[in-house]
């Protein structure tokens, strides 16, 4: 294996593509974020600036802190240090501009509720504590289900859905939030091919509507097709930038280390090299 003589750019801090983004415009900017469960950092000193209207993938091996990064950015898990801004505002003040899609496995699908009720949860900020659900709310929820191809399932109990259908319902709930920034945690994990296609179509249409999409993603084979920007992390940030320049065999090797065979990398549709 060749050893680069200058493997210095540890955090890619002065990455030219990153410096194009203005902090005030970035839908999600994270500065020196560290999170730890117990005595070992799960995420250490990560900086990133997501470009506006991009589709960004957060890539890294299992246990690399991808989901933790998202949750800490949202304040769902406590941060040990670091600042997070959303469109230039502290994240706490900009939560209304974010839609979050948690991992499917994080909830109990035996919960007694219907598909349409889950989608209506996306309207919580609008409905508040006591406002009644009116026809227009219901219609909006239905149109969100329509967008993910689940309108026929509106009255089903959520436990009756397949994994892919559950994921689509979660996406419909996020659509109902009508946000500027979409944060999705492993939206393609364990879903069927039809669902994967449906989800990526919706995400691309979000991008076309000038919104920003950030996904924690695990399937290296689809990164180049689905996304235009990547953040490679393994506790530390390894690299960040446009897929065309950053999603390289060398960076993947740095991210995954021995866990990724060279032959595997060769099979990926890498944009360069």
């Amino acid at each position: 294996m060749a050893i680069a003589a200058e493997p210095i750019d540890i955090a890619a801090r002065r990455d030219p593509s990153a410096s194009v983004v203005n902090l005030r415009d970035s839908p999600l900017a994270v500065h020196e974020l560290t999170v730890s469960y117990g005595e070992k950092p799960a995420v250490f000193s990560v900086d990133t600036m997501v470009p506006p209207q991009s589709m960004t993938a957060i890539i890294g091996p299992n246990g690399a802190g991808k989901s933790t990064l998202l949750k800490a950015a949202l304040g769902i898990v406590p941060r040990l240090s670091g600042r997070v801004t959303v469109f230039g505002q502290p994240v706490e003040k900009a939560m209304h501009r974010i839609a979050y899609v948690p991992q499917r496995a994080s909830v109990d699908w035996d919960f007694p509720t219907r598909v349409i009720d889950v989608v209506l949860m996306g309207l919580y900020r609008e409905l508040g504590l006591v406002r009644l659900v009116r026809r227009n709310h219901r219609e909006r929820a239905l149109s969100c289900l329509e967008r993910v191809g689940m309108a026929d399932f509106a009255d089903r109990q959520i436990g009756q859905l397949s994994g892919g259908q559950q994921q689509r319902v979660f996406l419909a709930r996020a659509l109902a939030q009508n946000a500027d920034l979409y944060l999705l945690d492993e939206p393609f994990a364990g879903v069927d091919a039809a669902t994967e296609k449906a989800i990526i179509d919706v995400l691309k249409s979000l991008k076309a509507e000038q919104r920003t999409v950030v996904c924690v993603h695990h399937d290296l084979a689809t990164v180049a097709d689905y996304f235009d920007h990547v953040l490679l992390i393994n506790v530390r940030k390894i690299a960040e930038g446009p897929v065309a320049t950053v999603f390289t065999g060398e960076n993947l090797q740095k991210t995954y280390g021995g866990r990724l065979a060279t032959t595997h990398i060769d099979q990926l549709k890498l944009p360069v090299g």
Binding site: P112, R114, M121, Y124, L129, V130, Q157
Partner: protein
Amino acid sequence: MGAEFVQLSLTPLLIGVLAAIACALPGNFLILRRQALIGDAISHVVLPGIVVAFLITGVVSTWPMLLGAAGAAIVAVIIIEAIKRIGRIEPGAAMGVTFTSLFAGGVLLLEQSDTSAVHLDVEHALYGNLESLIWLSAEGWSSLTDAAALADLPPELFRMAAAAGLIALLTLIFWRPLKLSTFDEGFASAVGIPTAAVSLGLVVVAAVAAVAAFDAVGSIIVIAMFICPPAAARLMTNRLEAQIAWSVAFATLSAVLGYVLAGYGPLWLGADNAVSAAGMIATVSGIILAFACLFAPHRARIGAPRGA
């Protein structure tokens, strides 16, 4: 049956029903959150809370008792959380340590202090005294319009009605955040719901239900009503709204049937003495749950259990 019923049975029946409903409402959420045993823990720590309140104020009266019990419930939740986080101990064991110790402390304080003058002892705490909450000055259904007789209604009735009304109101107002944070805590906090406050609020409401009911019916009914009617209701439907309705119906049925069986059942069987109404209400709720487990339409699990 009229006059005697109104005088001896109407108020205990009403109090039993209200207590059952007040406990069943928060119980629905406790069950869905896999925190059913928080209800168990709360009903145990109500005793030390009340004893401490009594030792401080020297009287047995509503507000100090309510505050003492709610305070004890919050202290218990804090201790449970501390043990879970600091010691990395599983929740069940953390609860077990906490509520048994607090209960033991309550019993010890009770034995050490002079409570002979007031109505405060462990047996009373465990199974209350529903049968004694009679409406002495009632002379029949007409007393319901008689102001003088109404003034003589047992104060427990108003207390229990207020608690049940408050709990129903809170459940209605905070329906959405409760449901949302019970289903998906991560998403709930991402849309700005203070999930920690909701969890603590639920525990406090459960404590209020427990202490209001505890005085009249004792802690067995409290635990049984926290768990049995909502558990049976969960097996009847797949919608939370309907589940709540079923749980209220089951709670009411348990209270009415339990009270009637306790009071009249032994007479029908030829015995002279009634049996404990609290025990009978718990028994009936258990029978309802057993039937639900055997025959209810939605008794089987469909989704994978959490964590699987």
